[in-house]
């Protein structure tokens, strides 16, 4: 079965479908398209009053469709666990064995630059997380930046299994982050009837402020989960052959 031929067939079929149907889509930028008129105007007009959050994407992601985002956090955690399962792992008992020899990937220039940059990267990550209400940003972006800072040190210093968090801690962080998100929903489930309905959180502030705080809470959970998983995946991929049992 010639794969080139099969591929040509599939491309032809899909291509004709795409080119045939694209003109019946509404023009790009049309303010009268059904997508612009039906569900989304509510999000745009009411985000500020419902939850005191000017960033409309954050409100949609974490409040109006917060359950999807919890699913997404679970996907991230699943990926981390999957990498753990696939690439093997030493049993925790062996962890106290001698530290492995680091093969440094960096030079003095990279090392110095990393020392200067990493604190700011981590700080910026926290800024992006907390400022996600007011400017583009939020949990996923902040978590990725946190992981980037840690991974930068890993790249420069070599396979140092301990800077920031080690593999076991990264796994725990991945699950903990998802649990924080889930936990916020759990609390609202017991204090009200709705999972992830932040207005039912038992905090003595106004309803919109409660929603805003709920969004912050789940964003923190997302950050922790994303950072933990990305570090875990990186560590799994770069484990030295002697360190893993596949």
């Amino acid at each position: 079965m010639n794969t080139r031929f099969l591929s040509l067939l599939a491309v032809l079929f899909m291509g004709s479908m795409l080119f045939y149907t694209a003109p019946s889509l509404p023009p790009v930028g049309d303010p009268e398209s059904p997508a612009s008129l039906h569900v989304s105007p509510y999000y745009i007009e009411n985000s500020l009053s419902d939850m005191e959050t000017p960033n409309l994407v954050t409100t949609v992601v974490t409040d109006y469709r917060g359950y999807d985002t919890m699913g997404e956090t679970v996907v991230i955690m699943t990926a981390g666990l999957a990498c753990l399962l696939i690439l093997g792992f030493w049993t925790p008992k062996r962890r106290s064995a001698k530290k492995t020899h680091y093969q440094s990937f960096g030079s003095p220039i990279l090392d110095t630059a990393a020392r200067l940059l990493v604190p700011y990267i981590l700080l910026f990550a926290l800024y992006v997380l907390f400022h996600g209400h007011h400017s583009p940003g939020g949990g996923f972006q902040g978590g990725t930046l946190l992981a980037a800072g840690v991974i930068l040190v890993r790249l420069v210093r070599g396979r140092d299994p301990g800077w920031g968090v080690d593999r076991d801690q990264a796994t725990t962080l991945a699950c903990l982050g998802a649990l924080i998100y889930y936990g916020v929903g759990f609390v609202t489930m017991f204090f009200g009837n709705s999972f992830l309905n932040y207005s039912k959180l038992p905090i003595p502030v106004g309803e919109a402020a409660r929603r805003s705080l709920g969004i912050l809470g789940v964003e923190i959970g997302v950050t922790v989960a994303v950072a933990g998983t990305l570090i875990l995946i990186f560590d799994c991929l770069h484990a030295a052959p002697g360190e893993e049992t596949a």
């Binding site: 599939a10 795409l18 790009v28 745009i44 007009e45 994407v57």
Partner: protein, 126 residues
């Protein structure tokens, strides 16, 4: 029916989808298949973002001081939110795929599909 230039985004999306699909089916190297899959996923993300556009509208963040945002002034935030999820799912899938590729390479020493199948066949026979 929209004219050609009104839907220019969609032609680009179509091109990327087809490149991704061809790459996944025709390329024998497993890493290339993975990269083609990424191109395929990115094309869908661009598709959704094109759906959210409104001419004359700005980014979906209400500026400080505006108290009654009107729907026509801001780009549709819903596809952006959906694509956040799609991007993250893509990253997760790529991470798992890379883990699989690393373990396959360590075990069989190759990422070319014909060689891989040959090695597996030899081991099964032997």
């Amino acid at each position: 029916m929209s004219s050609f230039f009104e839907i220019a985004n969609y032609w680009a999306v179509a091109a990327l989808l087809l490149i991704g699909l061809h790459g996944m089916l025709a390329r024998p190297n497993l890493m290339r298949k993975l990269m083609a899959m990424n191109i395929f996923q990115v094309a869908v993300i661009i598709f959704y973002l094109s759906l959210s556009e409104k001419t004359g509208a700005s980014t979906p963040v209400v500026p400080h001081g505006v108290l009654n945002p009107s729907a026509a002034d801001f780009v549709n935030p819903l596809p952006h939110a959906l694509m956040l999820t799609a991007i993250v799912v893509g990253v997760a899938t790529t991470g798992v795929a890379l883990a699989l590729l690393v373990s396959i390479y360590r075990r069989y020493g190759t990422l070319e599909e014909p060689e891989l199948l040959e090695k597996m066949r030899e081991e099964a026979a032997g």
